[in-house]
């Protein structure tokens, strides 16, 4: 709760600091606030808040762990923002403020125990992003992204609300544990509950861009400003999946027969569709969008293993390694493509020679996303697949085959960086200090996660 309040006030401060048009101060305030929030989460919840909101929020280990993932990702993105938002003047404070408000929504989605809170969290997460997606007002694709995101997102929220209403109608409660108890009694007989659960699956699948509800994602990711895309690919996924998991672990676990088949079909479809489509992409951001959808497919496997006690830790580790790798890849992309004005893979040509540090970071993050040992992405996939293997071996085989397919398009990046010749103007590309620092921090985190994956778990589950 403290973290939520800190972030909220930081967002307000950033909004008002934006009036001064001093870029440095706004970024410093936002970064300081998010790091303070991170510290407050890591040091543990403050007793006393919980009782006030016990029926709506709970700040247990689960919430703390995922909050760390989300706030860490946001802090890294804020570290990149000094350069990423360099063209903004009058809307500077707005952008920072909206990003932080969205993060607050994410925190709500980690700690909810009440369906109303879930809905509020989703809305607080999404609405600032609708605005941010369209924040490049003179770019046609940004406008398109905002419109598509808003329309599809609102539609999805509508379906979600309908599902919540039906669930309430059949179980007479919004509280997750009460719904779980009611579902245990009446799961097989209540058609209203079944339809409600399925509508919630659909609504949440929209939010995490799972097939066949993913068609908005490539256009929105490609059209949005780069940092906003990074935020959407990391924090929104983290929030969406954490919420998904809580819902199905607590409320709908007794009704497993209703939703496991649809979710497994969605998972298989998402992985395969996204990986095969990503093979044909030329635009790096679009490829990352499809890669994000593919990872959503793998993450849905965690939803299928809710009764496994270590599934939530596997989910958290996967999201952590995936977020850090995506942010590193986007950091390099932002620096290189905005200076070379090239959005395709050829922006990375010759990076191995002109900027070996950036090329190394890019190679490591892409190998981590592909799941190659010893990078953290491999461990994330390993934990996830182990959790699901006993009940759904066929899906794990499909996931493994898809990981192999993904190597092809991830390697296009490495090939461009190391084996294609760049042009003479490459050395003119400058790496700003803020980006260098952020990327270095991310690299250290990657190394730590690689060498001692369990450090991530013990740090979070101390209570």
């Amino acid at each position: 709760m403290t973290a939520l309040l800190i972030l909220f006030f930081t967002a307000l401060a950033a909004l008002f600091a934006g009036l001064s048009k001093n870029r440095k101060s706004v970024q410093t305030i936002s970064l300081a606030g998010s790091l303070l929030a991170l510290a407050s989460v890591v040091t543990g919840p403050v007793r006393g808040w919980d009782d006030m909101y016990a029926s709506m929020f709970v700040f247990n280990d689960y919430a703390m762990a995922f909050s760390v993932v989300a706030i860490l990702s946001a802090a890294l993105i804020l570290g990149l923002s000094g350069w990423g938002f360099r063209t903004l003047t009058s809307t500077l404070g707005d952008n920072y403020g909206l990003l932080l408000f969205s993060l607050c929504g994410a925190l709500c989605m980690f700690s909810y125990t009440n369906l109303v809170m879930l809905f509020l969290g989703i809305e607080i997460l999404s609405i600032p992003l609708y605005v941010l997606a369209g924040s490049r007002r003179d770019d046609l694709r940004s406008n398109e992204a905002a419109l598509k995101y808003f329309l599809m997102g609102s539609f999805a929220t509508g379906i979600l609300l309908f599902g919540i209403a039906l669930v309430y109608g059949s179980t007479a409660s919004f509280d997750l544990s009460a719904i779980g108890a009611a579902a245990a009694q009446s799961a097989s007989s209540s058609n209203m509950l079944k339809v409600g659960i399925l509508l919630l699956v659909v609504g949440l699948s929209f939010k995490v861009s799972a097939a066949p509800f993913h068609f908005w994602a490539p256009d929105v990711y490609t059209g949005s400003p780069n940092l906003v895309t990074a935020f959407m690919a990391t924090v929104v996924k983290t929030a969406g999946f954490a919420a998904f998991f809580t819902l199905f672990a607590t409320a709908f676990a007794p009704a497993a027969s209703v939703w496991t088949l649809p979710v497994s079909i969605i998972a298989g479809l998402t992985m395969t569709l996204a990986n095969t489509t990503a093979l044909f992409q030329d635009n790096f951001k679009r490829m990352m969008a499809y890669s994000s959808i593919a990872h959503a497919g793998y993450l849905l496997l965690a939803i299928l293993s809710v009764e496994n006690t270590s599934a939530d830790r596997a989910l958290m580790f996967y999201l952590l390694s995936y977020s850090i790798a995506t942010i590193c890849a986007f950091a390099v992309y932002i620096v290189v493509s905005e200076q070379k004005e090239d959005e395709t893979f050829s922006a990375f040509n010759g990076l191995g020679k002109s900027h070996p540090f950036l090329a190394l970071v890019l190679a490591i993050s892409v190998l981590s996303l592909a799941g190659v040992p010893p990078f953290p992405g491999f461990f994330g996939k390993y934990f996830l697949f182990t959790a699901v293997f006993e009940k759904y071996p066929a899906l794990v085989v499909l996931a493994v085959i898809n990981s192999a397919i993904s190597i092809y398009y991830y390697f296009k990046v490495i090939i461009a960086a190391y084996f294609h010749k760049g042009s003479e103007s490459d050395t003119a590309v400058v790496i700003p200090g803020g980006i260098r620092l952020t990327v270095a921090v991310a690299l250290i985190l990657t190394a730590v996660l690689s060498a001692a994956p369990y450090l991530a778990f013990t740090l979070f589950f101390r209570h």
């Binding site: 270590s310 190998l367 190659v372 040992p373 010893p374 491999f378 390993y382 934990f383 697949f385 182990t386 293997f389 006993e390 071996p393 794990v396 085989v397 493994v400 085959i401 990981s403 192999a404 190597i407 092809y408 390697f411 090939i415 190391y418 084996f419 001692a452 994956p453 369990y454 778990f457």
Partner: protein
């Protein structure tokens, strides 16, 4: 002690890649020689009671994964192979100047560290991680310093191998989930799992796909000739000298002990594939005009015999495969070095362009002949004990299999002697009449290899004694 095999190369690689010191070549050679020294030191340990020189550190204890290393006779032999051949590879690379040498030698050392880790690992997931880790340096070596069309070829190589080993991961995962209690990846636990016959079939197949791609075994060999030809000489030596032995080692250490229940059904198929590979690759080798490609196909043939010997799973087969792994490593490194030497002098690898080199380079011709005879497995060269034991093992398994596998000797003589004759004998052309004889560095390199060919041919018992007790233990533990 075991940890030093991995630490020395990794530390040296980090130094080379990050600090880029001036004495790059010397540092690399020093690191590999240090590893060799440690290997020789380990000859003295006693391996009759099981794993020795073990190292254990908890890594992910709740997931049952630990960083555990251990050595027995088989591991010692593989370490001897790796650490004997790697100084040769590094020293052989001194003949060429590479662009950005610290990176080149750093990547070679990284790979050697990972290879040592594969052979030392006694934890299933650690084995898998090192297995995959070895792929990354070789990919970069081949793609940065390789020859024509290298980007497409190395990507194909990476994906092919990676997909294969993913199936191995699934098999490992399945067996891991069958271990009792809080599961464990430790080798001793995995081996104790009794699998029902049906699932044992799938587990063994998963392993087989990974190792069949790595060795390679027909029909999963299509990546190999292109990759060997496109890679730089150091890369090819690493691939053929050491890396493919990861596959054969995996069969002995992991595939057969973990899923012996399926062996009766599947080993006849595997042996048939291996022997088909021998004949198939040998016939193609006879027709080759590119010397490097010829050696690549001959490698498939030789490894087919090694694989058949392992699958036969008897004393002669296993002992033969182990000694042949060592000797094939030495011989093939020598052959690829010779091919590189000719290419450096003449700019071509086509056999038709060569001829009469023996007239202007007699020392080279002599040493080439020694290495070539070792590859053909002439008695008193190092190739002979291995081939003989392997054929004995396969013959004991099945008369016809042994007969067909025996064709390898005949074919080996055909393509090797043909290549030697085309290159060395006959009338010298304009290109070959000025062929300079060996300089000092080349003399040392080829001299060392020839010496090894002869010594290991005269005294193979030394190697056989190293692995004898371990092979007995392995055969006793895994009854088919």
């Amino acid at each position: 002690m075991s940890l030093s095999f991995i630490l020395i190369p990794f530390v040296a690689a980090a130094l080379l890649l990050l600090a880029r010191p001036a004495a790059t070549r010397q540092l690399a050679l020093l690191a590999t020689l240090a590893n060799l020294a440690v290997t020789v030191y380990c000859f003295g340990c006693d391996y009759s009671q099981g794993m020795n020189c073990t190292f254990q550190a908890p890594w992910l204890p709740e997931a049952g994964i630990s960083f555990s290393l251990g050595m027995d006779g088989v591991t010692l032999l593989m370490l001897l192979l790796t650490n004997l051949v790697s100084p040769l590879i590094v020293y052989g690379s001194w003949s060429r100047t590479y662009e950005n040498e610290p990176r080149y030698y750093g990547l070679i050392l990284l790979m050697i560290g990972a290879l040592n880790g594969v052979f030392l690992a006694t934890d299933g997931l650690l084995f898998y991680i090192f297995y995959e880790l070895a792929l990354i340096p070789i990919y970069f070596i081949c793609a940065i310093w390789g020859g024509q069309d290298r980007i497409r070829i190395t990507l194909k190589f990476f994906i092919y191998t990676f997909v294969g080993s993913l199936f191995m991961l699934l098999s490992l995962l399945y067996v891991y989930l069958q271990t009792p209690g809080g599961h464990s990846f430790a080798w001793s636990e995995l081996v104790n799992v009794q699998l029902p016959a049906g699932t044992a079939l799938w587990v063994m197949l998963g392993f087989f796909i990974a190792f069949a791609v790595k060795m390679p075994v027909f029909p999963l060999h299509t990546w190999q000739p292109d990759t060997y030809v496109a890679a730089p000489t150091g890369g090819t030596m690493l691939l053929s000298g050491i890396m493919l032995k990861m596959g054969t080692y995996g069969v002995i250490r992991w595939m057969m002990p973990l899923a012996p229940e399926a062996a009766h059904t599947l080993t006849p198929i595997f042996i048939t594939l291996a022997i088909t590979g021998i004949v198939y690759a040998s016939i193609i080798a006879v027709k080759q005009t590119d010397f490097k490609r010829l050696i690549a196909y001959s490698s498939i043939a030789h490894v087919g015999l090694i694989a058949a010997g392992i699958f036969a799973w008897n004393k002669a087969g296993l002992q033969g495969s182990l000694i042949q792994m060592l000797n094939h490593g030495i011989n093939v490194v020598g052959l690829f070095y010779i091919s590189d030497l000719i290419e450096r002098r003449m700019g071509t690898r086509t056999l038709g362009d060569m001829g009469g080199i023996a007239k202007s380079a007699p020392v080279f011709a002599t040493l080439f002949m020694i290495v070539m005879l070792g590859s053909v497995a002439v008695p008193l060269t190092n190739g002979f004990p291995g081939e003989f034991l392997l054929l004995n093992g396969v013959w004991n398994y099945n008369f016809w299999a042994g007969l067909i596998a025996g064709l390898t000797i005949i074919f080996g003589a055909v393509y090797m002697l043909r290549a030697y004759g085309l290159a060395m004998f006959g009338e010298p052309g304009e290109q070959t009449s000025g062929f300079a004889d060996l300089n000092t560095q080349e003399r040392i390199m080829l001299g060392a290899i020839s010496l090894l060919v002869i010594i290991l041919g005269f005294f193979p018992g030394f190697i056989l004694n190293l692995t004898d007790s371990t092979v007995n233990r392995i055969l006793g533990a895994v009854q088919l």
